[in-house]
């Protein structure tokens, strides 16, 4: 099991051929209080880099891009009632959707934890 990050601040945690996708602690902090997440429906086929979800903070709507291609197999329905999970637990309860990976090679272009930490540091 490994976690990788996109330069759009999504994370993907891969177990077998399923990746769970969310946004990073840095991303949730930048967004501020999340009040609504529009998650994709199960069965939707997505490409790498496609806008698949929208996260609404009090101030603005932000697109969430899929860090890999595949088919959505589950969305986090609990976020409809508790969107604040994205702020409180972005790497855990605040996950957005699960994806059956179509092309495992998509993960190669993503950052590992150390590379992502350095990337975030470079932004401040």
């Amino acid at each position: 099991m490994s976690v990788k990050y996109s330069n759009e601040h999504e994370w993907i945690r891969v177990e077998g051929d399923v990746g769970t996708v969310g946004i990073s602690p840095y991303a949730q902090e930048q967004l501020g209080d999340v009040v609504f997440v529009d998650v994709p429906q199960a069965g939707r086929k997505v490409t790498k880099g496609e806008s698949v979800a929208v996260v609404e903070s009090v101030k603005a709507a932000s697109d969430i891009y899929s860090p890999a291609a595949g088919e959505v197999i589950e969305a986090n329905a609990a976020l409809a009632e508790t969107p604040g999970d994205v702020n409180a637990d972005p790497m855990g309860k605040g996950w957005f959707f699960k994806l059956r990976l179509g092309n495992p090679a998509d993960l190669d272009g993503l950052m590992d934890q150390a590379a992502y930490d350095a990337f975030v540091k470079s932004l401040s």
């Binding site: 501020g32 009040v35 529009d38 009090v58 101030k59 603005a60 709507a61 409809a80």
Partner: protein, 368 residues
């Protein structure tokens, strides 16, 4: 952000951990560490302190043989001549087509008029005043002064501890009041729909007074993010969004702010257009919108009825007090009745919504 201007509270914002963003040429706090939702809730239940020093404060004093109120009435449709000393009124600078150049608060001190205008418009407003009122008035920009808004149900308790006379001030009145040894001009007004004050301070006392207010147990600092969600819940217009040079006060449902005599007599820019709209109705109307579900329709979203676009959302967001999305927008007058079912087009998808009266959250002004 080096080319951005700073208010007298800039260092305090940094000390408080604010997230600073560019706004109307200033570096301003959008939120503090507790976040917009908590700031909003605090302002609705206790007292929030906002730095609004970026707004433009202008003093108009009549030149000998002239009347400042009568002079200002040539630029605004509000009843300014009728202001008693200590009374405050909301009005707009209009253009020749009846559009709104800016909206503003005007207070008479008896001796002069104090204007509070929007930050993004203040330089243009000043030029506008100079062009039209120089013969009649001394026009003094007081852009370096501090302006603090203290808002919420406990604002009175907090401020009255420092300046007891404010407790009995009524909504939309103003007075010179000593705070922490400095002469301030305080009005009982604000932009949240709740009770509260705006405190104009000498530039060099703004930070000390802000710190004194923040030391009161009821008071927390609040950023521009919550200022926007609070005013949206209150159904109050934001210049440049809900109103601009293409919307008239009638379309914006601001007829209440136009004096009865002034409706009849005119004498302000665009009076012909505005009087005709008063008599015959305006083609468009600003309305409240309640979207179904959780999706948020933001500024620019189309408003459709049976597939036809009838208007646009001008402000939309999450209303923390209600725990749901709300919006306001402008629609064709003939289709603007409360209860009308429309669709708001959010990311290409229709979100059903209903036209509703505003405010979304009941006003709680102190009228004595």
């Amino acid at each position: 952000m080096s080319d951005l201007k700073r208010t007298p509270l800039h260092a305090l914002h940094q000390e408080l951990g604010a997230r600073l963003v560019p706004f109307a040429g200033y570096e301003m706090p959008v939120q503090y560490p507790i976040g917009i939702l908590a700031e909003h809730a605090h302002t609705r239940t206790a007292a929030g302190l906002f730095d609004v020093s970026h707004m433009g404060q202008v003093r108009l004093t009549a030149k000998p043989g002239h009347d400042a109120a009568k002079a200002l009435e040539t630029l605004v449709p509000g009843d300014i001549a009728g202001l008693q000393p200590g009374q405050q009124r909301y009005t707009q600078f209009t253009n020749e087509t009846g559009g709104i150049l800016d909206d503003l608060m005007v207070t008479s001190t008896g001796d002069h008029l104090l204007l509070i205008v929007n930050a993004a418009c203040k330089d243009d407003d000043l030029a506008h005043l100079a062009r039209h009122l120089s013969a009649a008035c001394e026009i003094e920009p007081m852009f370096s002064r501090g302006l603090l808004a203290l808002q919420g149900p406990l604002a009175s308790a907090a401020l009255a501890r420092l300046a007891p006379s404010v407790a009995t001030m009524k909504f939309m009145t103003g007075a010179f009041v000593m705070v922490d040894g400095a002469e301030c001009y305080i009005t009982r007004s604000g932009y949240t729909g709740g009770d509260g004050y705006e405190i104009s301070t000498p530039a060099d006392k703004a930070e000390a007074i802000a710190r004194l207010l923040l030391a009161q147990p009821e008071v927390k600092p609040i950023g521009l993010g919550a200022r926007d969600s609070l005013r949206l819940e209150a159904g109050l217009c934001l210049y440049g969004h809900d109103i601009d040079t293409t919307t008239t006060p009638i379309e914006a449902v601001l007829l209440w702010s136009i004096g009865k005599e002034r409706r009849a007599q005119g004498g302000f820019p665009g009076a012909g257009v505005i009087q005709k709209q008063i008599a015959e109705g305006a083609p468009r109307k600003r309305v409240g919108l309640l979207p179904e579900g959780k999706a948020i329709a933001r500024e620019g979203a189309e408003i459709a009825l049976a597939g036809r676009v009838i208007g646009k959302v001008t402000s939309g967001g999450f209303a923390p007090t209600l725990g749901r999305a709300v919006a306001m927008g402008t629609v064709e007058k003939a289709l603007s009745a409360n209860g009308t079912r429309v669709d708001l087009v959010v990311r290409g998808k229709p979100v059903p919504a209903e036209i509703v009266p505003m405010p979304f959250v009941k006003h709680a002004y102190y009228r004595g």
